[in-house]
Symmetry: C2
Subunit: 118 residues, 2 copies
DNA sequence: TTCATATCTCCATTTGTATGGAAATATGGA
DNA sequence: TCCATATTTCCATACAAATGGAGATATGAA
């Protein structure tokens, strides 16, 4: 995952309809869901849904395959993971053990350095 | 993490300067970095940097504390983790073991359902 | 071939975001 | 008190993204 891909993916997810669609597909898993069902569940007009699905595709976050008259969309989990890894890369000066692997929470550090919220 | 917070955080990260700033702070860890050093390392004019830091703050992704004349910014790692958790919530029909915990890659599924990319 | 279904593309309108110079504010030192 | 430093706020300009109706396209069934 490079910076440009990460930016495209983040921009794709930074939109309510697309975030909803993506999370629904993540939850659906590799089986995926047909476009029509996505639109129905989320209450999106077809033109709007199609626009957002295209954005998600261009961002590499979903794929589709045709099945009869339906297009079955599913999440690109590997790319999602690449994005998460990009965000957390070298967390805490490359000392991931210091703040928890994968989900870095800083709580295990010896000097928690408490700070007031801004 | 609710949807609205997730959207705000994603929108904040979907911008090159802010993504750079945030990753630098994630890497710096709880010690953080002064605003000036961020601007210097990333080549951002002060007004531009300040604008982006404000966005990141409002999104709950960074905090700051004053130290003399400098403002020391650091990443809100707990909120970052909340965002990642929100994205991967109920991955693969709530069967996280099926696709790897934390970083869900789908490779461990019994029926990988290979699909052509779109 | 003709029709119904599923989805997409086109496009005009509306809305929101990024940029950076200039001036304002806050802190600490002389 | 006055100045230098660090950072912010103000603001005009420029650019990008979301929406959804109408019509186009693709598939399968009769």
């Amino acid at each position: 995952m490079n910076k440009s891909d990460a930016l495209t993916a983040l921009a794709a997810l930074a939109q309510e309809a697309r975030l909803d669609v993506f999370r629904l597909l993540v939850q659906a898993g590799p089986e995926g869901l047909p476009a029509g069902q996505l639109g129905e569940r989320l209450g999106l007009p077809s033109a709007t849904l199609s626009f957002h699905l295209k954005e998600l595709r261009h961002a590499g976050l979903v794929r589709f395959e045709r099945e009869g008259r339906s297009l079955i969309y599913s999440a690109e989990l590997a790319n999602m993971n690449g994005l998460l890894a990009y965000l957390t890369e070298n967390c805490c000066q490359g000392n991931p053990a210091a703040c928890g692997v994968g989900l870095c929470d800083g709580t295990k550090l010896e000097t928690p350095q408490q700070r007031k919220p801004s």
